[in-house]
C-alpha cells in the first residue's frame, strides 16, 4: 500500500528555513491538498516528495519504503511519483501521444502496451481524438490535460500536482478541478495537490494541510478546516471570516467592548488573555434598532458604514463600538443605510473563539 508518511520534515536553504518539522500521514488513495500563501513551504514539500530536493532533516516514507532522508534520496525516476507542473512542461517537440507514451517507453514496455497505455491515459483526460496533434496547437487547459495524462500513464503510486490550475483562466479552472477530482476517484491514486486557492482545495481534497511560514497550521478534512479553523490564520485564510479581537471571558466566551459573546472554543484561552472571535459574514445577522428582538442573544451594537447591493444579497460593512469593522451578508429586502444604528446578532454555534494570532 502506498500511503505517505512525512516525519518531522525540515528544509533550509542557507539561513532561510523553508519548512519546519512537518509531520503528516496520508492514507492510501487519499487526495491531500497542501494549501497556503506563497512562501509557506508547500512547494518545497512537494519538491522533496518528488525527489528533486533533499531534506535537511526528517523522513518521507511510502508504505515501508524510505524515500527521502538527509542521507539518502531515492532519485525522482525511481520513486513511482509522477509530477504535474504549474507551467505544464509538455514537450513541444513531441506529439500529444509521444508526450504521454514517453514514460511507458522508458519502462521498455512492448509497442502494444505502450499504445494501449497511452490511449487509456489520453481517454481518461478526454484527449484521445487529439493524440497526433502537437502541444503548441492546443489551449492551456488541453496542455495541462496532456501533462496529467503523461503523469497518469505510468500508473504511479503517487501523483504530485504543483499548482496545476493557476495558469488557466477562471472558467477553465472551475472545470478542471472537478476533472482532477473525477480522475482521482476513477483511479484512486494517492495524490498530493499544492495550491494557494482554498476553493480548489475544498473541492478536490480529502484532507487539507494549511501551511504558513514553513509550519503546518491545521491538518483536517475540508469541512473541519472550513467550519472549525484552529487558529486566526486558518480562519482568515479559508473563506471570508470576520475576525473580531477581544479578551477571553472564561470558557467559550469572549468580551468585546462591554459585551460578552458566547461561542465555541477551538483552543483553550486562559481567562483575561487576548482572544479573537471568528464568524463568517453569511452567518452573521443584522437587526434594526438598539436591541435584539426578544429571545435572541449574542448581540453587538454597530453603525452601518457602507451598503452594497449584490443582487442576491446585500453586503453590509458595519463598525462596532470598539472600532472593529464587520461584514454582514443580509437578504436584499433588508435595506440599512449608512449611519443607521443596528444590532449584529452572532449565533453562538457559528462563533469560533480562539487565542489571538
Amino acid at each position: 500500500m502506498s500511503g505517505i508518511r512525512i516525519k518531522e520534515l525540515s528544509k533550509s536553504f542557507g539561513n532561510f528555513q523553508a519548512l519546519r518539522n512537518l509531520t503528516l500521514d496520508l492514507e492510501d488513495g487519499q487526495l491531500l491538498a497542501l494549501l497556503g500563501p506563497s512562501g509557506c513551504g508547500k512547494s518545497t514539500t512537494l519538491q522533496m516528495l518528488a525527489g528533486f530536493e533533499m531534506p535537511t532533516s526528517g523522513e518521507i516514507w511510502t508504505g515501508d519504503r524510505l524515500l527521502s532522508s538527509p542521507t539518502s534520496v531515492i532519485p525522482p525516476e525511481k520513486r513511482g511519483a509522477s509530477l504535474v507542473f504549474q507551467n505544464y512542461a509538455v514537450w513541444p517537440h513531441m506529439t500529444v501521444a509521444d508526450n504521454v507514451a514517453f514514460g511507458l517507453k522508458v519502462k521498455r514496455l512492448s509497442r502494444n502496451d505502450v499504445r494501449e497505455g497511452t490511449m487509456a491515459a489520453l481517454n481518461a483526460v478526454r484527449l484521445g481524438p487529439l493524440a497526433d496533434r502537437y502541444p503548441s496547437e492546443m489551449s492551456g487547459g488541453q496542455q495541462q490535460r496532456i501533462a496529467l495524462a503523461r503523469a497518469l500513464a505510468v500508473q504511479p503510486e503517487i501523483l504530485l500536482l504543483d499548482e496545476p490550475l493557476s495558469n488557466l483562466d477562471a472558467a477553465l479552472r472551475d472545470e478542471m478541478r472537478f476533472e482532477i477530482r473525477r480522475v482521482h476517484d476513477e483511479m484512486g491514486i494517492t495524490t498530493v495537490y499544492v495550491t494557494h486557492d482554498q476553493s480548489e482545495a475544498l473541492v478536490t481534497a480529502d484532507r487539507i494541510a494549511v501551511m504558513k511560514d514553513g509550519e503546518l497550521q491545521q491538518f483536517d478534512s475540508p469541512t473541519e478546516v472550513f467550519e472549525r479553523p484552529k487558529n486566526e490564520f486558518v480562519a482568515g485564510f479559508i473563506g471570508k471570516n470576520n475576525i473580531v479581537p477581544g479578551v477571553s471571558a472564561g470558557k467559550s466566551a469572549i468580551r468585546i467592548g462591554d459585551r460578552v459573546i458566547r461561542g465555541q472554543d477551538t483552543n483553550d484561552v486562559s481567562e483575561g488573555g487576548g482572544a479573537i472571535l471568528a464568524i463568517r459574514p453569511t452567518k452573521t445577522r443584522l437587526h434594526d434598532g438598539n436591541s435584539l428582538p426578544a429571545g435572541l442573544e449574542n448581540g453587538l451594537p454597530a453603525t452601518v458604514i457602507r451598503s452594497a447591493y449584490l443582487g442576491e444579497t446585500r453586503d453590509i460593512l458595519a463598525e462596532l463600538t470598539t472600532g472593529t469593522t464587520m461584514r454582514v451578508m443580509v437578504p436584499p429586502e433588508q435595506q440599512p443605510a449608512p449611519g443607521d444604528q443596528v444590532m449584529l446578532e452572532l449565533p453562538a454555534d457559528q462563533c469560533r473563539i480562539m487565542a489571538k494570532g
Binding site: 507551467n87 512542461a89 492551456g140 504511479p156 504530485l160
Partner: protein, 580 residues
C-alpha cells in the same frame, strides 16, 4: 553539505553514478584543455631554460633588454590606435545604419559583416598588392599619373598596420553598438518625445547615452584585437624589422634552439592586459553578456537626415566596405588571375593557371583545404559537445561549485591565440603526450580556443529551456542522462547548430593559435597561406586566399539560409514556453 559525513557523500555519489562519471570526465577535459597549457606557460616563465631551476631569469632578460621592450610599446601603440579608430568609425557607422534613413544600409551591413569573416591577414595581403611601396597598384597608378618618384602609400609601416587592423576591427565595434541601437526599446524614446523633446534631442539625451556601455565595450574589444593580432603585423611590420609582441613571440620560436622559456615569460604582458580588460568589460556589463536595453517592441524610429546629409553619411559608411572588402578583394582576385602581379591587370596578363595549380596540381593546397574543413568540423563538433555539457552542468547547478566549470570554459577568451599556441606547444609536444605534428594537437587547440563561444551559445540555448521539462521526464521514470538526451538535447538542436557554425567559421580563418603547432602534414589553409607568403609568390598566394575566402563566404551564406529557417522554429517553441 558540510553536515554530511564522508560515508553520506559516498552514498549520494553512488546514487547518481552516471552524473558523477560525466562530471569527472568534463572536469578532467577542461583541466587538460585550459589549465594544463596555461600551467606550462606559468611554469616555463619562472624556470631557467638550461638548469630547469626556479628562477626569474626570463623576466630579468625581458626587463633589461631594450630590444624586448620596444615590441611591447609598439603593441600598445597599435592596440590603442586600433581601438581609437575603430570606435571613431564603428560608432557613427552603427548609428547611421541602425537609426537613420541613409541609403544603402543593407549593403553596408552586409559588407561590414563580410569584413568580419575575412581573415585580417588576407586583408593585409590584399593591401600589400595595393599599397606596397614599389609594386602596389595604387602607388604605380599614382606615379603614372603624377610622374612622381615617391610612392603615395607605404603599407609596410606602423601607420599601414594600424590602418589594416582598424578596418578589420570596425566590424566588432559596429556589431556591438548596432545591436544596442537595434534592441533598444522604442518606448524609451517615445517617452522623451511625448514630453516634447525633438528627434535630435531624444537621440542625444536618450538613445546615445543608453548605448554608451556598448561604445566602451567595443573600445575594449578593439584594443584586445589590436594587441593580439598576429598575421597583420607579421606581414606588414616584419619586412621593415619592426616587431610587436606577437611577432616577437613567433621569432622566439624560429630561433635555434627555440627560446620557449623566454617566450612563456613574454606572454605575460599580453595575458595581463587582455585579462585586465576583460575584467573591466565584465564590470561594465555586470553579468550581462550583451548590451541590451530591453523593451517590448523592436521597431525603431529612423532619423531623417535630409537629402545632402544622407549622401554624406553614405560616403562615410562606405569607408569600411571599400577599404576592407572591395579594394583588397579586387586586388586579390585580379592578381590571382594574372601571370604576374607587376604587369598590372590586362587581358594579356590573364591566366587561370594559379587556380589550376591551387585546386588540382598542388598536393599541399589540396591537403590544407581538406585539413581546414575536417579540423574545423571536428573541433566545432567536439567544442559544442563539451560546451553544451559544461553549460548544462553549470546552468542546472548539478553540484555546488558547478559555476567553476563555466569559468574554466570561458577562460580561453582572455588568452590571445598566440599565447595559447605557446601553451599548447609546451604542454603537448613533450612526453607523455608527444602530439607534435599530429592532427590531434591542432584539433584540441582549436577546441580550447573556441570553447568560450561554444559554451556561451549553449548557455543561451539552455536558458531558454525550462528545467521543468527535464524534471517532467524524470518524474515519469527517465534517468538524468535519458532525460537530457530525449528532451533537452532535441530542444537545443537549432541553438546548437547555429552555435556550431559560430565556432566553425572562426576556426576556418584562425591563424595564430596553430601557427606553432602545424607540420607540413597538418597545415591548414591559413598557415599554408602564411608560409607561402614568405616564398614571395604573390599570384599563388592570392589564388589560395581567394579559394579560402570564397569557401568561407559560401559556408556563411549557406549557414544564414539554414539557421534563418531554424531560428523561426526555435522562436515558435520559445513563445510557447512563455505562454505556458
Amino acid at each position: 553539505m558540510s553536515s554530511h559525513s564522508r560515508a553520506d557523500l559516498f552514498g549520494l555519489v553512488s546514487h547518481n553514478l552516471p552524473r558523477w562519471l560525466v562530471i569527472s570526465v568534463v572536469i578532467v577535459t577542461l583541466l587538460l584543455l585550459v589549465a594544463h597549457p596555461l600551467g606550462w606557460i606559468l611554469w616555463n616563465s619562472v624556470h631557467d631554460d638550461t638548469t630547469q631551476k626556479l628562477s626569474l631569469v626570463n623576466y630579468r632578460r625581458i626587463f633589461s633588454s631594450a630590444s624586448l621592450w620596444v615590441p611591447i610599446v609598439n603593441s600598445l601603440i597599435v592596440a590603442f590606435s586600433v581601438a581609437f579608430f575603430s570606435t571613431l568609425i564603428g560608432v557613427p557607422l552603427a548609428w547611421l545604419v541602425s537609426r537613420t534613413d541613409m541609403p544603402g544600409r543593407g549593403l553596408v551591413r552586409a559588407m561590414t559583416m563580410t569584413a568580419f569573416v575575412t581573415p585580417s591577414f588576407i586583408g593585409a595581403l590584399g593591401w600589400i598588392l595595393l599599397a606596397a611601396p614599389r609594386a602596389g597598384w595604387l602607388n604605380v597608378g599614382w606615379q603614372n599619373l603624377t610622374s612622381s618618384d615617391w610612392p603615395l602609400f607605404d603599407i609596410y609601416t606602423m601607420t599601414g598596420t594600424i590602418f589594416v587592423c582598424s578596418i578589420y576591427t570596425v566590424p566588432y565595434t559596429f556589431s556591438l553598438v548596432a545591436s544596442a541601437f537595434d534592441e533598444m526599446a522604442v518606448e524609451l524614446e517615445d517617452a522623451a518625445t511625448t514630453l516634447g523633446a525633438g528627434k535630435w534631442r531624444t537621440m542625444l539625451t536618450i538613445t546615445i547615452p543608453l548605448a554608451r556601455p556598448a561604445f566602451l565595450v567595443g573600445f575594449i574589444l578593439s584594443f584586445i584585437q589590436g594587441m593580439t593580432l598576429f598575421g597583420v603585423p607579421a606581414f606588414l611590420l616584419t619586412p621593415s624589422g619592426t616587431r610587436v609582441v606577437t611577432t616577437q613571440l613567433a621569432e622566439f620560436y624560429q630561433l635555434f634552439p627555440p627560446e620557449i622559456f623566454l617566450a612563456a615569460a613574454y606572454c605575460m604582458p599580453l595575458l595581463v592586459v587582455t585579462g585586465g580588460l576583460f575584467w573591466v568589460r565584465r564590470r561594465l556589463l555586470g553579468r550581462r553578456q550583451f548590451v541590451t536595453i530591453g523593451g517590448k517592441s523592436l521597431r525603431t524610429r529612423r532619423i531623417e537626415l535630409g537629402a545632402r546629409a544622407r549622401w554624406v553619411g553614405f560616403v562615410f559608411a562606405m569607408i569600411v566596405p571599400v577599404t576592407a572588402v572591395f579594394l583588397p578583394f579586387a586586388a586579390l582576385i585580379l592578381v590571382s588571375l594574372s601571370k604576374a602581379w607587376g604587369m598590372g591587370p590586362s587581358l594579356d596578363n590573364f591566366t587561370l593557371d594559379w587556380y589550376r595549380w591551387a585546386l588540382w596540381e598542388n598536393g599541399e593546397t589540396q591537403r590544407a583545404m581538406i585539413n581546414s574543413l575536417v579540423y574545423a568540423g571536428l573541433a566545432a563538433t567536439l567544442g559544442m559537445i563539451l560546451g553544451t555539457v559544461v553549460a548544462f552542468i553549470s546552468e542546472r547547478k548539478l553540484f555546488s561549485g558547478a559555476a567553476i566549470l563555466g569559468a574554466l570554459a570561458t577562460m580561453p577568451i582572455i588568452i590571445p591565440g598566440i599565447v595559447l599556441s605557446v601553451g599548447f606547444f609546451s604542454a603537448y609536444t613533450r612526453p607523455p603526450f608527444g602530439f607534435y605534428g599530429t592532427s590531434m594537437l591542432v584539433i584540441i587547440a582549436f577546441v580550447a580556443t573556441f570553447l568560450p563561444i561554444a559554451y556561451s551559445q549553449a548557455t543561451t540555448t539552455i536558458k531558454g529551456i525550462s528545467a521543468d521539462l527535464e524534471r517532467a521526464a524524470r518524474s515519469v521514470g527517465a534517468g538524468e542522462i535519458r532525460a537530457f538526451l530525449s528532451i533537452t538535447a532535441p530542444l537545443m538542436r537549432t541553438g546548437l547548430i547555429s552555435g556550431w557554425l559560430l565556432v566553425f567559421i572562426p576556426i576556418m580563418r584562425e591563424l595564430s593559435v596553430v601557427i606553432f603547432l602545424v607540420s607540413p602534414q597538418t597545415n591548414v589553409m591559413t598557415t599554408l597561406i602564411y608560409n607561402y607568403k614568405d616564398g614571395g609568390n604573390y599570384e599563388a598566394v592570392a589564388a589560395t586566399s581567394v579559394v579560402l575566402l570564397a569557401g568561407t563566404l559560401v559556408i556563411v551564406l549557406l549557414a544564414r539560409l539554414f539557421v534563418g529557417q531554424g531560428s523561426r522554429r526555435t522562436r515558435k517553441i520559445q513563445t510557447m514556453e512563455e505562454n505556458s
